[in-house]
């Protein structure tokens, strides 16, 4: 009796734990992209305008979601460790010293998916529970 209770508890805890392990942010791109995945560092560099190509050499065009979207705040906090205000400060320095221009912006998860599927150079982020069929998931983080 005790043994089966223990096993039951184990499975239950795994089940509960797996609920929390669901990815909260995913980076998606066109399925034809040569890269299989991205590291957190490379992802941060792409979205902060520090590099403009994927590791495989293909040109990368990052797209952001609108300010205020939860996926956007989650993504930048988790991958670049910057709050919305810090991000704005970072970009204002680059924009006003002529070093870079901000990423293209779209509305939300749905629009990111629509565009990713249609353009092989785009890379964007969506919430963890977004349906990503049709696109390639390059990075996910709980």
């Amino acid at each position: 009796m005790k043994k089966s209770m223990f096993i039951y508890a184990l499975f239950l805890s795994l089940f509960i734990y797996s609920g929390f392990v669901a990815a909260e942010v995913k980076i998606v791109a066109h399925p034809s992209l040569k890269d299989a995945s991205l590291t957190k560092e490379v992802a941060a560099k792409l979205f902060l305008g520090k590099v403009s190509n994927f590791p495989s050499g293909t040109k990368a065009i990052p797209i952001d979601q609108e300010t205020g979207e939860e996926a956007r705040d989650e993504f930048y906090q988790k991958v670049t460790n910057k709050t919305a205000a810090q991000l704005k400060s970072y970009w204002s320095r680059l924009i006003f010293t002529g070093q870079a221009l901000p990423n293209k912006r779209v509305l939300d998860d749905d629009e990111v998916m629509e565009l990713i599927i249609a353009n092989p150079n785009l890379v964007g982020y969506v919430s963890g529970d977004m349906d990503t069929t049709g696109a390639k998931v390059l990075f996910s983080m709980p």
Binding site: K50, S52, A85, S92, R93, G98, L101, K104, E114, L115
Partner: protein, 458 residues
């Protein structure tokens, strides 16, 4: 199949079979009619719902198609050629006394020192060429806000790692020199005046920027040369600034940034300084000889007229020729892990002739900590300079300062900063007074500047 099941099956068959044969033709026909009616009714239902469902779906599909095509247009806008960005600072400051620096600090609350607004227009000329113009209007420039082009250039990206810009660019003396007017891009109300008050601010010429990594460290090297330089200070009205060039490298790894820069500026022209002390003819001649310039009496003394046969002058000026080269060498180190940050920046001013100023040195260190939307910060600085060879009575000067500030993020594009800057330990003339080139000591023992500034980017 076991015997029991087989038996039941046979019995059922025998029972059921006769019932089929028991139905007459009329009954079968009736049954068919009923089924036909049922099918018709179902068909109707099936056709009816798709129509209403269809309408909704069609509308949605249309809407989505429109959105996709609009976005595709936006997308095929690598061709989105035009972008506009702006920044603005509204700041009120008050000092204990009249501190005639370029910031117009005085003992009344005034908005002139730090308020400004900037607009930047970026236009993509082609895949690898762009044009940028940044107009900044500052309240401290004149009584009327006039917009000046701080940046106006055409840039071309030749390779992934190299870009050239030609036009008007800001002189990249120090870490935050290029974004000097964008309050939102740095932690203080204004970049520390111990370091960031330079006579020239932008140049017309070209720069080449190289970006490359060495392992995990990213580097950016900038080499620039000017055809002509734009000055901010009235003091340089009769002086040509030429032969301006520099090189700098910024390296970053994780939360660390290191920047080394050198800038060289040549000055040529005449410098006129007015003095209000009593001097006799021999004195005037002495200064003229020592400086190689000309000393002229503007106003003879009304009180002391003749002593030992010489006339006394109470207001006079000295005109000297300037031919000097200033080199600014700076080093900046920054650590910022998102919560805690520290910045140390130092600059050495080296003058070849030490004519209108002497060599100088300035150091500033800053610490800050971010708690949610509040960021307190503290900084300390020291600035020193040697005497100027051509200015009579010029002495060594030095000044220390510390500042305490608090920034509060109002939303992701606006913040408000409260800052108290305390300047003390003045030696010699503190470089603040408009008449700082006059011999003698400053009256002040220390000074305070209080500022509230709101910065926004849009």
């Amino acid at each position: 199949m076991n015997k029991k099941i087989r038996f039941i099956f046979t019995v059922l068959l025998l029972i059921g079979a006769p019932s089929v044969f028991a139905m007459s033709d009329a009954e079968i026909e009736k049954k068919f009619d009923a089924y036909e009616a049922k099918i018709k009714a179902l068909e109707k239902k099936v056709n009816a719902s798709p129509a209403s469902v269809n309408k909704k779906m069609v509308k949605n599909v249309k809407k989505n198609k429109k959105r996709i095509s609009k976005l595709k247009k936006l997308m095929d806008s690598e061709k989105e050629r035009f972008q506009m960005n702006g920044f603005m600072t509204v700041a009120a400051s008050k000092a204990d006394a009249e501190l005639g620096s370029a910031y117009h600090f005085n003992d009344r609350v005034n908005f002139r020192g730090d308020s400004k607004v900037g607009m930047q227009f970026d236009y993509k000329l082609s895949e690898d060429m762009d044009a940028t113009i940044q107009l900044v209007a500052r309240s401290r420039d004149e009584d009327v806000w006039t917009a000046d082009a701080e940046w106006a250039y055409v840039g071309k990206r030749f390779t992934d790692w190299m870009k050239v810009r030609v036009g008007r660019l800001r002189i990249p003396f120090y870490l935050y020199s290029e974004s000097l007017d964008v309050g939102y891009s740095y932690p203080w109300v204004r970049p520390p005046i111990d370091l960031y008050t330079t006579l020239v601010t932008s140049f017309d010429g070209m720069d080449v920027a190289f970006k490359f990594p060495t392992g995990p460290v990213n580097h950016r090297v900038q080499v620039w040369v000017a055809g002509w330089t734009n000055t901010d200070a009235d003091a340089l009205d009769d002086i040509d600034v030429y032969d301006t060039r520099g090189v700098n490298i910024t390296s970053s790894w994780r939360a660390f940034t290191l920047r080394l820069a050198t800038t060289s500026i040549a000055l040529e022209g005449t410098q006129t300084t007015e003095f209000y002390s009593d001097i006799n003819d021999a004195g005037l001649a002495g200064y003229a000889f020592a400086t190689g310039g000309t000393a002229t009496c503007l106003e003879p003394s009304p009180v002391l007229t003749v002593i030992a046969g010489e006339s006394i002058c109470s207001r006079w000026d000295l005109i000297i020729d300037i031919d000097d080269t200033i080199t600014y060498n700076s080093l900046a180190f920054q650590y910022d892990n998102g919560t805690f940050f520290t910045i140390y920046e130092a600059a050495l001013l080296d003058l070849k002739e030490e004519s209108i100023f002497g060599n100088g040195r300035a150091d500033v260190v800053t610490f800050g900590y971010r708690f949610q939307s509040w960021t307190p910060y503290i900084a300390g600085g020291v600035t020193e300079s040697d005497p100027a060879n051509l200015i009579p009575g010029s002495t060594e000067t030095s000044r220390r300062s510390w500042l305490l500030g608090l920034q509060h993020i109002l939303n992701d594009s606006t913040s408000i900063k409260f800052e108290w800057n305390h300047l003390y330990d003045f030696e010699g003339t503190d470089g603040f007074d408009e008449g700082a080139l006059e011999p003698g000591e400053t009256d002040l023992d220390d000074a305070n500047i209080y500022t509230i500034a709101i910065d926004a980017v849009f």
